[in-house]
Symmetry: none
Subunit: 422 residues, 2 copies
């Protein structure tokens, strides 16, 4: 089965935004074993969109379009594709009710434009949108299936995962089974080198690696007549990958994030956490708190960006700040120690570093970061040097902190289990 | 003049990498006033590349290709396009010498493959590559110009800036100028409705709206013979938009974010800020601290996810938590009051809400959020009801907090200026 992707949006053609949706959809198709030979981008223009859609419909069984489902004048993907496939638009009551509720909830005034979003092609499969107002649409004809998705990634990604993927899996005759091995603390090129023999030998299952800040995801996908057979093909490869990366693997569950795996470790061992963030200014805690149930684990977070607040709330010594500076192993150590003490938590983490663009010196360059972890009183501080711009440095620091925290927990917990065994 | 972009690489079609090159080239073309109506991605496949190139060559005056100039077998962009344009490949001595030098410098062994990169279409303009081995190429025929660029952004970007841009500037007549008006606290459909007459009447300049969580960006773009003339066309439209949205406009500078505009307001008025976050758990402060120079403004951030920490660090009354609960107007008020007092800051914000998926009731549903702002002692608390998944709710809350903070600052500052005038 062949698919093509058409991203609709003048903002992509103007270079205002990077087309991450196409990459996400392509990766998803690859995971489903559906070939994708072409991606196109076209503006919010009826004539050109028809032309590109018809060309794609000639070449592919499935055409996936994203963007142009909004309420505004220049959003015309649905209208254009419906016309190209000779489908009439009718009001979908459920969609219209959802849009009205969406606005009521926010105490926003509904405009005439918004009703436009509730019209769907007659006989189409409607994918209701939990995260926005534009429903997704699946339109089938004898020759081609068109799948229309909203442009904002926050709406497109959940709709793809929850509604399009199951639909495509059923549509493609064979069954596909994927397992994703998520690795932290190793760069993509390292992971690829360590897996080169497996990747070179791949056919079924296929092995693909995806890099994420501080993480590498290895997706193993097999196609077979039944899920049972597909699972059988995936199992030995995943087992081999597990053997090679050991404790660097934080999950093989696609839905589990790095922060969720850390929270689970804390939860299972009934350990509470507190945080002291300087350069990341709350981003680390923000990620951890995104995990449902965080309130049982996280006691307190201190965003101590200034030296004064490091002293007042974490008890960092003035002499330490004067002698070694705020970005130093000593400061990170006192921060994490003071954090655990103030919050009376079992576990604590601290981050201090130079995010730039200014403030770097030869001795302490931009990107220099110290991360401290305290697990039941045993403290570890690790030095990092991240590169990139301010935001990239801070994202890398967050990922490194979660990775170090996880590593320290594992070390400490095995020690404890070992001790228990004595 | 019309251009098209073709990105060559199976890794893009597999979703292994995001196509940032196309965004960079598109932005460059827009800046030069060259229209780009299509972007395409095709794999390292001779047949399909010829097909896509010929289609593009029919539609555009300039076809820009990136990727597939490497030394390996499957790098075939140059060979394919040269054949499509009926050009013979000949060895370019300068390119060959540079490649040899590149390898010597790095003590790398030269392989026969590498000589392949030194062959260029007869009569082509060769763009020598300071950052890699593949030279860029400009091939002209009577009907179309093909510009071939290496795929790695570290090679493509400098080659684009230093060699392609001057070439295209000379080739193209008109110039584009864009200004972006960024609005907070209004939905996209509202903005569209309020601008409908301008949008319906648009031709040159064009007006486009882009939605972002909690923000709408309106981009006004004009084409003219000189930047001066283009600016003249943009100015009255931007002025009219400013008149209609007033203080909801936080910037007309494309590079200024909402958090940066808030930090600037605080900075200019020498006001310090502290934060108390519950449901957002540090995300709000994390965004603010992403602004360079944040350390002069932000005194302290409290991530008080638990009731206990709300009491201990912010002085929220036990009775308040018992009577009204943590997600209440009263709690948000005491949080922001206690936050400003503890941190001794001029300004403070507080967020408390139910991010879900659990914890919602009929009376207090998931998404219910209270945001408090204190500016020099005058406190305002606003109620919100956000929808979507946990992460979406929290992102919406962050945007709403920044918008409310900005609004309260403006109100308060104008009051002060007014008072000064008495």
């Amino acid at each position: 089965m062949k698919a093509e992707i058409i991203s609709v949006g003048t903002e992509i053609l103007m270079g205002n935004i990077v087309n991450t949706n196409a990459a996400y959809i392509s990766a998803g198709l690859a995971g489903l074993g559906i070939s994708c030979y072409y991606q196109s981008v076209v503006g919010d223009n009826d004539k050109r969109l028809v032309e590109v859609f018809n060309e794609a419909a000639k070449r592919a069984d499935i055409v996936i379009l994203s963007g142009g489902l909004g309420p505004t004048e220049d959003d015309l993907t649905k209208e254009t594709v419906a016309r190209a496939m000779d489908k009439e638009l009718v009001l979908d009551d459920k969609a219209w009710k959802q849009i009205q509720k969406f606005f009521e909830k926010r105490n926003l005034k509904l405009t005439d434009n918004n009703k436009k979003q509730a019209y769907v092609p007659k006989g189409a499969k409607v994918m209701y949108n939990k995260n926005g107002t534009a429903p997704g649409i699946i339109m089938e004809s004898d020759t081609v299936t068109a799948i229309l998705l909203p442009g904002p990634p926050g709406e497109l990604i959940p709709m793809w995962d929850d509604q399009v993927t199951p639909y495509l899996r059923e549509k493609s005759g064979d069954v596909f089974f994927s397992e994703t091995v998520k690795i932290c603390g190793s760069g993509e090129s390292f992971v690829e080198t360590d897996l080169k023999d497996l990747i070179d030998a791949q056919s079924n299952p296929t092995i693909a690696t995806y890099a994420k800040t501080g993480e590498v995801h290895v997706r193993v996908t097999a196609r077979a007549e039944s899920e049972k057979d597909a699972r059988k093909l995936v199992k030995p490869i995943v087992k081999e990958i597990k053997k090679r990366f050991g404790s660097k693997i934080f999950t093989t569950d696609d839905s589990v994030t790095l922060e969720a795996s850390v929270m689970q470790l804390l939860n299972e061992n009934r350990l509470t956490l507190s945080t002291a963030e300087s350069l990341t200014g709350g981003m680390t805690t923000g990620r951890l708190i995104n995990v449902p149930g965080a309130s049982d684990v996280i006691k307190m977070g201190f965003i101590t960006y200034s030296n004064k607040s490091k002293r007042k709330y974490l008890g960092v010594k003035r002499s330490t700040l004067e002698k070694y500076g705020a970005v130093s192993e000593q400061c990170a150590k006192e921060m994490v120690k003071g954090c655990a003490a103030a919050a009376k938590s079992d576990v604590a983490i601290s981050l201090t570093g130079i995010a730039g663009p200014d403030g770097g010196t030869d001795e302490k360059p931009v990107g220099l970061t110290y991360i401290g972890v305290s697990v039941l009183g045993s403290i570890k501080v690790k030095k990092f040097l991240f590169s990139g711009e301010r935001e990239k440095i801070r994202e890398s620091a967050v990922a490194a902190a979660l990775t170090l925290l996880r590593q320290c927990l594992l070390e400490n917990l095995t020690e404890r289990t070992f001790a228990d065994k004595q």
